[in-house]
């Protein structure tokens, strides 16, 4: 019975999607600093995603400047005009399937909008918000 339970648990872990696993890693990181941390919050994430800041380029932008408000629709890069495919997995199943890509864009885009790399808490919150908008 115990073995069955353990193997089921293992199976469950391996079935968790890439982004869910990453959210777990981020959660553990936050818990190291804050033992009573409950979980990520999409409200805080929304504030991170929609609020404007003087970005790396010296212009006031938010994540929505390039990704738009409706995450199920494509939008244009604020600076280059190139189309950015939707963040929503519903309309763009490719999204959030590669850990390397998720990490890369969180790192880059926090730098672009906030002029610093986001904390584990901020990354978790904003990811939770994006995933909740599908």
């Amino acid at each position: 019975m115990k073995i069955l339970l353990i193997s089921l648990l293992m199976l469950n872990i391996s079935f968790a999607s890439v982004v869910e696993e990453y959210l777990n890693t981020l959660k553990q990181e936050v818990q190291k600093e804050k033992a009573d941390f409950k979980g990520f919050d999409k409200k805080r994430g929304e504030e991170i995603f929609t609020s404007k800041h003087i970005g790396k380029k010296g212009k006031e932008i938010s994540c929505t400047s390039c990704h738009g408000i409706d995450l199920t629709k494509p939008n244009q890069n604020f600076f280059t005009g190139k189309t950015i495919e939707p963040l929503s997995r519903k309309t763009n199943p490719e999204r959030f399937t590669k850990l390397k890509t998720i990490k890369k864009w969180l790192r880059r885009n926090f730098n672009d909008v906030y002029n610093r790399e986001g904390t584990a808490l901020e990354k978790g919150d904003v990811l939770t918000y994006i995933l909740s908008k599908e």
Partner: protein, 169 residues
């Protein structure tokens, strides 16, 4: 009629060859380069700039035209190798690519193709409103007017400016 047909065939083969010649030489097949460098802008043909330009660009990815374009170490190495192997001074030079590259002074290390003297000359007659308009936005958005830019073709017959039409010098 017969001569006309022969002429027609001759012309179409010449142009087809020209087409193939350019696209084959500058065609970007490196998947990593396409994935990594064409997510924010068009994948520019590396043959436009010399090795020193690509090195300078790859050394400053944290502030790549004001944005963070950093890679993992391995990806950075692979992409740098690709750019250096296909830079203007790594190839024999052909067509307008070599003309663009030759217009760069040996004292300069431009990191934007739009800084190349020949590029500036070629675009100086374009009214600013055509560039600032929605759908073009910036002079670096080649594909907005050069419809075959992705294939590496920048000839006049492939130019179509939004809200204006064909461009003739």
């Amino acid at each position: 009629m017969k001569t006309l047909t022969i002429l027609f065939i001759l012309f179409t083969t010449i142009f087809a060859d020209d087409y193939k010649y350019h696209t084959k030489k500058v065609e970007i097949t490196n998947q990593l380069y396409l994935e990594e460098c064409a997510s924010c802008h068009m994948a520019y043909q590396s043959q436009f700039l010399p090795k020193r330009s690509w090195n300078k660009m790859m050394d400053n990815l944290a502030t790549h035209f004001g944005v963070d374009a950093t890679f993992t170490k391995e990806d950075e190495k692979t992409i740098r190798e690709y750019l250096l192997n296909n830079a203007s001074d790594s190839t024999n030079g052909y067509g307008y690519y070599s003309k663009f590259a030759r217009s760069i002074s040996s004292m300069d290390t431009p990191i934007a193709i739009s800084e190349i003297p020949k590029f500036k000359r070629e675009h100086r007659e374009i009214p600013k409103r055509f560039i600032s308009q929605k759908g073009v936005k910036t002079i670096s958005n080649c594909i907005a007017c050069h419809k075959d830019a992705k294939k590496g073709l920048y000839k006049e017959r492939n130019i179509f400016i939004p809200n204006y039409g064909r461009w003739d010098d």
